[in-house]
C-alpha cells in the first residue's frame, strides 16, 4: 500500500517530529521504499508460530520490593534544559 502525504504527515505527528509540509512528499517516498523492502515478510508462512518475546529464553528475575536508589534530586535535574525549584520546567500544558 503506497504511503500518501496524509499518512506521512500523520506518522510524523505520532512520532512528535516536526516535518515541513514541503518535505512530506520526499518522506512519503522514503517510507514507500522501506515498506516495499519489508513487505517481503508477507510471503513467509508463519501459521502457528509464536512471536518472539525474548531471544534468550529467560524468566525475568524478581527482587526484593525495597527502595534501592533515590534521594538525588540535584543529580536527576542536572542535565535538564530547564529546571526550576526542583522541577523540570516545560511550556504551559493546560490553559
Amino acid at each position: 500500500m503506497p504511503i500518501d502525504i496524509a499518512t506521512a504527515r500523520k506518522v510524523a505527528r505520532l512520532a512528535r517530529i516536526g516535518v515541513e509540509e514541503a518535505d512530506l512528499p520526499a518522506l512519503a517516498r522514503e517510507f514507500d521504499a522501506m515498506l516495499a523492502f519489508i513487505d517481503q515478510l508477507a510471503e513467509v508462512d508463519v501459521a502457528g508460530v509464536e512471536p518472539m518475546t525474548s531471544v534468550s529464553p529467560m524468566k525475568l528475575p524478581l527482587r526484593e520490593d525495597a527502595v534501592t536508589d533515590g534521594d538525588m534530586q540535584a543529580a536527576v535535574l542536572k542535565n535538564a534544559p530547564d529546571a526550576r525549584e526542583g522541577f523540570f520546567a516545560v511550556p504551559k500544558v493546560v490553559e
Partner: protein, 493 residues
Amino acid sequence: MSMPVPPTIAAARDGLRKGEFTAAELAEAFLAAIAAGRGLNAFVHETPAIARAQAQAADARLAAGDAPDLCGIPLGIKDLFCTKGVPSQAASRMLEGFLPEYESTATARLWEQGAVMLGKLNMDEFAMGSSNETSVYGPAVNPWRDGETRLTPGGSSGGSAAAVAAGLCLGATGTDTGGSIRQPAAFTGITGLKPTWGRVSRRGIIAFASSLDQAGPMTRDVRDAAIMLRAMAGHDPGDSTSADLPVPDFEALLTGDIRGHVIGIPREYRLDGMNAEIAALWDRGAEMLRDAGAETRDISLPHTKYALPVYYVLAPAEASSNLARYDGVRFGYRAKLGPGDGINEMYEKTRAEGFGHEVKRRVMIGTHVLSAGFYDAYYNRARKVRSLIRRDFEAAFADGVDAVLTPATPSAAFALGGAGAMDPVEMYLNDVFTVTANLAGLPAIAVPAGLDRRGLPLGLQLIGRPWEEGELLDAAFSLERAAGFVASPARWW
C-alpha cells in the same frame, strides 16, 4: 617521551607486569598517538586527565602485585556508553552537553579492573548507520586507504574500529545491533566480537533496539578479545536481561585446536552477484579450518533472506520507543520556542532539530509499523519470522554444528561520501551477513582473513552457540592462526 607502543593488550599486560614500562608511560604514548591521529576523527572527546589519574592508580596496583589483566591498559570507549562526567552523546546533536551522572556497568567493570580511559569514540548517530557518516561529529576515517581515496571505517562503531586499527588505543568498546561491531572490524582489519545477547550488561548504554543491542570488544586479535570480554561481561542486577551465568576465563580456553569441530557453511549466504573476492575468501576460510582438522558441512538456514526485512521492522520499532525519551525535558537538547508555542511544538521542534535525518527516518518507520492497523501486519509478523530465524540456527546446532562460517561483509570498505549515492535499502545490505546473529541472539566474531586486490582488509565471521563465547573464540583463534593476517595500514594521517 613516547615509547614504542606494544601491539596488543596481551603484550602490554605482560610488559607492565615485567616492569618494562609503566602504565603512566603507556598512557602518554597513546595520548601522543591520539594527538597525532586527530585527522582520523576517531576520538571525539579526549580524556587525558582521567587517563593520567587512572594510569597512576594502575601503577600503584601493579607495584602492589594486584593487577588484573586490564590494569594499566589504555582503551577507547564508544560515545554510546554513559561515562560519568564525560560527554556521552551518541554522536547526536540531541545529547550535546549531556554529562551523565552515572557510569555504564560495562565501563565501570573496565575501570574497576584498572583499565585506562583515553576518551570517547566516534560512531553513527544513536548507532544507526554503516559508514559513520550519520555522526554529528562528521565521519571517522579508515586508516586504510584505497590509493588516495579516503574510506569509511564502517559503522556504527567506526571510531572504535579506526582507533584500534590505527594504534590509537589497545582496545575499544563497541556495540552491535545489526553488525555495528563486526562490519567496522572487518573494514579495518581488526577483530570484533558481539557476545550472546545478555552476556554484557546494557545498563548505561544508550539504547537503540534493546532486544538486539549488545556490547562487545574491538581489538587487534582474538586473544585480546577474550581478555576484554571477560572484563566487560557478567551478571548485573541493574539490567534484568543480563544473564546470571559464570564468566569463564576466555583466554585460558584458547587452545587453537579445532580438530573434530563441525563448521557449518550456510548455502543461503552465497548471494546472487556476490563479490568474487569475498566468495573466494570464504572458500579459503573453510579450507583453512579443514586443514586445521575441522569438518566443514554445507547447511541450510532457510529464513536467512528475511533477516534484513525483519530487522528493519524490529529495530526501528524499538528505536521509536526508546528514543521517545528525547523530548527536551529531562536531558539533552531543547529547541528555541516561538511565542505561543506549547508543549507539542516543543517536542516536535526539539526532535526535528536534535535528531539527524537517518534517526528521524527510522523513528518514523518504527512509529508506522507499531501504529494501529499495521501492528499485526508488520511488527507481530516480524517477531514471528524472527522466531523462525532463531529456529534455523537451533536446528543446525542440534545437528551437531559447532559454529557457522560466513563472510563478515559483502564488500571491503567503501569510499567516504559514497553513502550519499546509495538508497537506504542499499546501505542496509551492509548488514546482510551479520544481522542474523542479532536476531537469533547468538555470539559472533569477525576476524581479519585477507586483503583484496586493492590491499584492503576483508573479514570472515564465525557465529557460535548461545553462551559459548569460549568455544567461538577458540574457533576464531584457529582461523586467525591459519589466516596469518599481519598487515597494518601504512601511516598517512
